[in-house]
Amino acid sequence: MSEEPILLGEHGSLLGIHTPAAPVGAARNSRLAMVLFNAGLIHHVGPGRLYVKLARALAARGIAAVRVDFSGIGDSPPRPDHAPAHELGMREPREMLDDLERRGYDGFILGGVCSGAKHAALAAGDPRVKGLVLINQELAAADPEAAQQVSVQYYLRRSLRNPRAWRNLFAGKVNYGALFTALVGGARRLLARGGRRRHSPAELLLEELAPALGRATPALIVLSDRHAEVLRLFAADFAAAMQHHPSLRFESNCYADHLFTSTSAQAALVQQVCEWAEELARTRAHERTPAVAPALAAR
């Protein structure tokens, strides 16, 4: 496998590591590349080297991958034009795709962990985006009530199962004030709105992904740790979302933390993403074959 550094973007300053697809498998003619966006401030290697493992596993199955650094993160310097940060999340993915398209790719799976997933979702409106892999995106963040509910449920469930948490509770090693405020505050809010939600995280997600879902773009949404709690709490909403949009797939992993730290959690995730992407690439390669075949036959 011969990886290479590439410089992308309007100023040629965005670093990417390109892992070309091995000439194997049904996906090899898909001209599809997965682009992996930074998880917060962690550089393009990904948390615990996750993106390196994922890129190499995808390439071995015939799908290219590029792990990138946004401006000012990892090995990419800050932009010379000093564009505001909130604009970069929209502009830089597009600039990256423009350059990768010039390299011969014509379809992209955008993905990432945490804020990387958010950036992938924000860029999903681009018609060149053929798939999304959103890992631990903050689904409840846009609705403070949902976020509060998820936090309370998550910490309660986590603490109830944790002997250390019980020991701390009885040994006076917890902030009783904060605990009381969180529990009573949550209950009060719930009573005040009569148990009805203003928004569901599923609704907010569908709204965010609307341009991509309108094109039936497949999306794999993997949730672990407290993010999996969102899926559990709003299970009915997410089930309805999948019914309306069969291209959406939700997976929860209760054995992994937010950054998929353990090697076994990483291996399971890599396997899951590879299988999903391979299926997508296979379909794409198959769809593309009739158009390519006559051209080849004419030569």
Partner: protein, 266 residues
């Protein structure tokens, strides 16, 4: 006035095909000095936590006129291989390969090796067998492998305590990095700092605790062939213990390192 694009590193892969290493070469933005800098990173989970600091160190050196190369060891970062296949001797060989690459890219004969944590210890070991190394910077070097394993074990325990939902992991894994028996044994016995090569004129040890017996002992060994050894307390946060998402940079320490190297320039 420098622009950020002038400070963009030149990313590269080097080394033989089966063991390609990833590096970033930072070109000097001021009048160039005669010495080039090779930066040896921390390892395991500490590598990720220190990445931003390591990059900033290279940027600071480049601003001060030094070409600087930082790189990933085999099985880490973007370099080839799996972490489980790595060994201390393999990483010392990587430092030698990176030193050769640094010389070619910078067109300098004289090198300063600046290492962080385990990278500092490996730099001191590798430098003993390398030609042309004139200065050595050891930032929070690991001098006691058993203590390091205990510390990493405590970090894993804190992680386990935070995540009680039975996160599955291999028994000998530390925060996502496999640490087999062989590697543990190497850490337990293979971290002695050797007497430096005669060409090494100056050594800076920035220790977490400058008064520790292990630090004093290492300083004595490093001074045994006439090198001027400076031992100081590192005046900054222990970035290798912070969460990677925080991406902390200990600017005061980095500025001290660059200034110290400048003081020794011939």
């Amino acid at each position: 006035m420098r622009t950020s694009s002038q400070e963009a590193p030149l990313p590269c892969f080097f080394g033989d095909e089966a063991h390609r290493l990833y590096g970033c070469h930072h070109l000097p933005t001021e009048a160039a000095r005669r010495e080039a800098i090779l930066i040896c990173s921390a390892t395991a989970h500490e590598y990720e936590r220190c990445h931003r600091a390591t990059r900033q160190l290279a940027v600071q050196f480049a601003r001060a006129g030094y070409p600087a190369l930082r790189f990933d060891y085999f099985g880490t970062g973007d370099s080839a291989g799996d972490y489980a296949e790595a060994s201390l001797s393999r990483w010392r060989d990587d430092i030698a390969a990176a030193a050769a690459e640094c010389r070619v890219r910078s067109a300098r004969k004289s090198l300063c090796l600046a290492g962080l944590r385990l990278g500092a210890t490996l730099a001191a070991q590798a430098a003993a067998a390398l030609e042309g190394v004139t200065q050595l910077v050891l930032y929070a070097p690991i001098l006691d492998g058993a203590a390091l394993l205990e510390e990493w074990g405590r970090e894993q325990a804190v992680f386990d305590g935070k995540h009680s939902q039975a996160i599955r992991r291999a028994p000998q894994e530390i925060l996502g990095f496999p640490l087999g028996q062989s590697f543990r044994a190497q850490l337990g016995t293979g971290l002695a700092v050797p007497a430096p090569a005669p060409a090494i004129r100056r050594v800076l040890v920035l220790a977490e605790r400058a008064d520790e017996p292990g630090v004093r002992q290492a300083a004595a060994v490093l001074a045994s062939r006439g090198a001027a050894v400076t031992v100081e307390q590192a005046d900054g946060p222990a970035v290798w213990r912070s969460e990677p998402l925080q991406a902390i940079v200990p600017f005061k320490v980095l500025r001290r390192i660059v200034a110290w190297v400048g003081e020794g320039a011939r």
